[in-house]
Symmetry: C2
Subunit: 292 residues, 2 copies
């Protein structure tokens, strides 16, 4: 089986060429307004369309049954993106899903999980993907797992890009950590530097990381009371802070949580890094079943 | 098909006798420590065990695959409650589920829904049930839909029975409305009276109901970003306030929410009242398929 998995991002489009379940080659192209052209270029650099069994695509917009909604960062508006791609690429076997959901499916199948899982992607924003009994929760309008805009903060009141105040993204993304540190120290520093400083026991950085971890723990607690997954997978750029961050999150989660059964839930770091999206697009194009 | 659906509560055990899908007879007995005895009495008053096809039981504790956890109000501790009941009643075809989940299944199948739904039960506490693509989300430890302890409030800081502060139940239950009214007016009044006063335009009661509805709207928004159900079903004793409450909740929800796709989600009042649990226990005993 030969498959190309594509992960469309705001600045880059990533391509992965999978042969019999193994990622053989990767490619990254700059995102352009004419995404079809970029896709054609990327695919043809890796393989010929004739020899492909399927193409999987992940896009940064809510997707329900291959239909795309509310695509703020995409030039296509509300449409059946699968049909559009089938026509434009003159290729039939295409499956489309949301990028955060793709990352979730990627991590889930790659780690050979079998129970329910929530992926929390901590990057410039906060994304999420939810799998219950092996199946993605897309939601009625494709907003399943769109956890970035859950209301989490009434203390700082940072404004969110969505027009609200106190969304998850304003305190739990990389930007959120910078927001918190800035509110405490009145200095503008990026998330990576704040983690480095916290690891060196800088007081303001430590306070910021503790608060930051508490917001993520709160998010996990909310998810535990709704989905009660077996495992939380922490991914995205911020997760490069590694076990330092994971330990803080589990510590804060255990402090918040009064139900001992829910303290047994697992917290894991994501495995696939930036490749999670192309893996998920690939698995999804095979109807969510990984190849043997 | 002859089935008895049983809904075990803290003060009463409700029994419903269903013949070919129709609720023929109801019975309510006082909850006693020896619940098996109560069950035997209730069942034998309605039918003989010999002629029953199945028994469905709803209990006020988290259930996962018929196993009961953390049963604060039940005398049985952590155990396989299905096996226990099978032995004690000498009857094989028994299915057990959580009471809030039972109510959700009851409302869902009774209203012949087919998409995802969240039931929010506003009573002395707040319970919930979540159905995604026709299937109940039980969660890894049976805590799926246990929405009563999601953190919702940082303003009043009321203490919750679980040991936390600011849980959903402290502001969104009947007790929660009393808490809010008491904080505003310094008077202790029950929820029903507060609704009556609000309908008569009493200023403090109206302010309380508006705030109360905002907390429920916030809860729904959080659920929309995680599950994105097609419909929210509002049930429990508080839902007797009817369209007055439902209109307030949808008004506050629309104010909070910045994603227009999510403003299309439906809000409905529950249909079955106190019978939702026995209907759900009944449907669940038929492997969640209602009879034709």
């Amino acid at each position: 089986m030969k498959v190309v998995g594509i992960d469309v991002g705001g600045t880059a489009v990533k391509f992965g060429y999978f042969i019999d379940g193994v990622l053989k080659e990767k490619l990254e192209l700059k995102t352009e307004r004419d995404l079809i052209k970029v896709m054609k270029t990327g695919i043809s650099s890796l393989a010929s369309l004739d020899e492909l069994d399927s193409i999987g695509v992940a896009v940064p917009a809510p997707i329900k049954d291959n239909f795309m909604f509310n695509a703020a960062n995409m030039p296509w508006g509300n449409l059946n993106i699968k049909e559009l791609l089938q026509t434009e690429l003159a290729f039939k076997s295409i499956e489309v899903l949301n990028d955060a959901n793709a990352a979730c499916i990627g991590e889930y199948y790659f780690a050979e999980m079998h129970d329910s899982a929530v992926l929390i992607t901590l990057g410039t924003g906060v994304g999420g993907g939810i799998i219950v009994d092996g199946k993605l929760v897309e939601g009625h309008n494709g907003f399943g797992g769109e956890i970035g805009h859950i209301h989490l903060d009434d203390e700082f009141g940072f404004k969110c890009g969505c027009g609200s105040v106190g969304c998850c993204e304003t305190v739990a993304s990389a930007t959120g950590l910078s927001n918190i540190y800035n509110a405490i120290s009145n200095k503008e520093v990026d998330a990576r530097t704040i983690f480095d400083m916290a690891k060196e026991n800088d007081a303001d950085a430590l306070t910021s990381v503790d608060l930051y971890s508490k917001y993520i723990a709160r998010l996990c607690q909310t998810l535990a009371f709704i989905i009660n997954p077996q495992v939380f997978i922490i991914g995205g750029g911020v997760s490069k802070a590694g076990m330092f961050l994971l330990d803080k999150i589990t510590e804060e989660y255990t402090k918040l949580n009064t139900y001992k059964e829910l303290n047994k839930l697992e917290f894991k770091l994501a495995n696939l890094g930036n490749d999670a999206g192309i893996y998920g697009a690939y698995y999804n194009s095979l109807k969510k079943q990984p190849e043997e």
